[in-house]
Symmetry: C2
Subunit: 438 residues, 2 copies
């Protein structure tokens, strides 16, 4: 027999939780119209009872400070975890699943770290565990990878998945700001935390990338196997040189399959400035997925914020409710329930081949280019183009070199040799290049 009313409980009532309650309460009738489902927000747990939130008319007794009152409530069928972190959230989700409840979560850190444990219990208990909001906010990239592209071999993923970094790079590029100035603006707008390390050093993007990779390739990639570089070393100059050469710099989260190897990395990347990804500005996110059948695709939208993230969480609640009413089987990601794949392995960053942008500050004296060219040539790294500008101060000049495709291992050796040259005044800036024709 089909049930049409489903009771939902929320753990956490911060920004996203507020958005979710706003939709569940205020748009209850619309969801019924869109889906035929009647979703009832029965309880919300929050550590300290919050002030009234304007515009959301909760039923009396809905709010509690006791999270267990949600996960143990026999009337609640779907528990939505929006606490964050990996300690309390993990324990509450495990307990809720042991109580037979299905789970929706937006917690990328938890999925990235504890995916195996959580999905194995979900499968054992026959409950759903959905997590669309854990990567790229309102963009339905997780459903797309799991369902819409299920007939494809995913060849590559290129994601702009951290809105903070994209906002900072956009401000630097469009308005000529320094990194530190753009970071301050991002903090002023609420796009960056007071301690922005997690975003600007690429960790947030790396966590999201492990989730996308797990779904694309059914392989669980530990965070420490993702080569991760942030954007803190990117300067205004690099953006200017890149632009002169027809490129934009974006922080990309990249997964590429080559034969039986996947390479999984997050770093600033030069991309052609006429490409779709280069046009993704401000705090927006976009994920480009290339499948062997579907070809190149791109999914664009807001990757964070109250309502876009709530949109994804509510979609998961609806999917979960459809599973419950329809008694459909649980869609479990293989990455986290099967034995480790032996047919695919994760490359080391040393194994990749790509093009490079190199920026050097060197003494303005004869023979400098020859010295650098010799080091690169000896390592089989071929130069595609060079820009050398007039000296601007103290007899030093900036030298920008784009290379043809070269091995990362060779480039690393060359880099050490170049940094050791007496004529080189500052540490070499190296940014990898990806080419797109869309």
């Amino acid at each position: 027999m089909e049930k049409s009313e489903i009771n939902v409980g929320l753990l956490g009532w911060g920004t996203v939780g507020t958005g979710v309650s706003r939709i569940l309460v205020n748009q209850n009738h619309r969801i019924y119209q869109n889906t035929g489902l009647s979703l009832k927000l029965l309880r919300i747990a929050k550590r300290t009872l919050p002030a009234y939130r304007s515009g959301i008319d909760l039923a009396g007794g809905c709010l509690t400070t006791d999270a267990n009152a949600v996960v143990d409530d026999p009337d609640i069928e779907i528990v939505v975890e929006l606490i964050g972190g990996t300690t309390n959230s993990r324990e509450l989700i495990l307990r809720a699943m042991q109580n037979g409840k299905s789970i929706v979560t937006a917690n990328k850190a938890l999925i990235a770290k504890c995916g195996a444990e959580l999905f194995q219990l979900a499968q054992k208990q026959g409950v759903s565990l959905n997590f669309e909001a854990s990567a790229a906010g309102g963009i339905p990239i997780i459903k797309t990878l799991r369902e819409s592209f299920a007939g494809n071999q995913i060849e590559s993923i290129y994601g702009i998945v951290n809105g903070t970094c994209n906002y900072i790079l956009t401000e630097m590029q469009k308005n000529g700001r320094d990194f530190s100035e753009a970071l301050e603006m991002a903090q002023g707008k609420g796009y960056a935390e007071e301690d922005p390390t997690f975003d600007i050093e690429g960790t947030d993007a790396a966590q999201k990338l492990t989730i996308l990779t797990a779904l694309a390739h059914h392989i669980s990639v530990p965070l420490n196997r993702v080569h991760t570089e942030g954007i803190t070393k990117i300067t205004q100059k690099d953006l200017q040189y890149a632009q002169e050469l027809g490129y934009t710099i974006k922080l990309l989260a990249i997964t590429k399959l080559k034969g039986t190897q996947i390479d999984v990395r997050v770093h600033p990347t030069l991309i052609p400035d006429h490409s779709m990804l280069a046009n993704v500005s401000d705090a927006f996110n976009a994920v480009c997925v290339i499948g062997d059948a579907v070809g190149p695709t791109l999914f664009y939208g807001q990757g964070a914020g109250e309502m876009p993230t709530a949109s994804a969480v509510v979609a998961d609640i609806i999917d979960t409710a459809r599973s419950i009413t329809g008694n459909s089987h649980v869609l479990v990601p293989r990455a986290w329930i099967s034995k480790p794949r032996s047919d695919i392995s994760i490359s080391s960053i040393n194994d990749i081949e790509t093009r490079y942008y190199l920026r050097l500050v060197v003494q303005d004296c004869p023979g400098v280019l020859a010295q650098i060219g010799t080091i690169l040539g000896n390592r089989n790294i071929s130069i595609a183009s060079v820009i050398q500008k007039e000296p601007h101060c103290k007899n030093t000049v900036s030298l920008v070199i784009l290379t043809h495709r070269s091995s990362e291992a060779n480039m690393r050796l060359a880099r050490v040799e170049i940094d050791n040259l007496e004529v080189v005044q500052e540490e070499l800036i190296l940014i990898r290049i990806e080419e797109f024709d869309f």
Copy 2:
């Protein structure tokens, strides 16, 4: 009890059918890995038995010329209709559903025309009817509207959903070609039919738009209620003027909700040239969806072709197989099974308000701009900017006017008056403008 092997039958073995069989046969193991489902391509019906198709190893006896042998085969659970048209395809689908089979189709004309009949039977029979490939090819826009954005009120849809028109406009814009020259190139590349009317007059885009509108607003829009203009009147000059003014011209399929009215239209449109949609080039498709929670989103990919379309068809087959093995309830679009909505109505094109681009060829004599300005002013149409170029031939000049937001009804009256002016040498070219800030 869950079944894991599902038998599939194909009706039609043209371009898309070949792609679908290629994935089902050659990537059978991958689909199993991705989904846990074992899909078996049991039969393919084609009117005349085709020559061998390279690279697809069909089982003996798989091919038949008798379509009923597919729809009546008791072992087949999913029938995939790839014949096209609305006569045979309709009869075969109805018969297959009466036999208890679920359906996957890529047939936009059939869904647009017979959606109500087909979905009502599907619901009665408790079978699935999936149609992702019927709009925007490999882009999962139908699943996104039905599932991922189910918690949203969809406010607007702006789609580049006809690859032929987008290829032609891109060639005109980027390579300075005439319309007829670009059309010939499109025909040479197989993007346009010998009789290209269906694409270049906007009918194909209008059919797709009725499907997207049905899913976004649960309303079945007859094709004759979609205001439809093609791209045949767009000239090289219009693209040049648009560019000077910071715009690109695209054929957009537009649905907008304003209160209880939706306006549904297909026409060439000036859009800001820095916007994401303006960067969609060549035969690519993209659909921008704005939801009240998720905000602006964009979905980009190949809208046609053997493998991208097959990717969408196979995703539908997998979803359908999941429904069958999981016994999940059937997801039926309300637009086609409920009574007509009384709370929303379709606007007439006369009811819209928008900005306009007007191009006139006028005599190069005093007072012309005043005459035109007076007509517009009398109709409450305010001018935002004007370009008048030096005369290029026979004492005529081109005059380009961008207006502020104005009523379509007033503009139509003004247009007649302008076309009747003695100084006006050619029919006024009018293109609507949409503004985006993303």
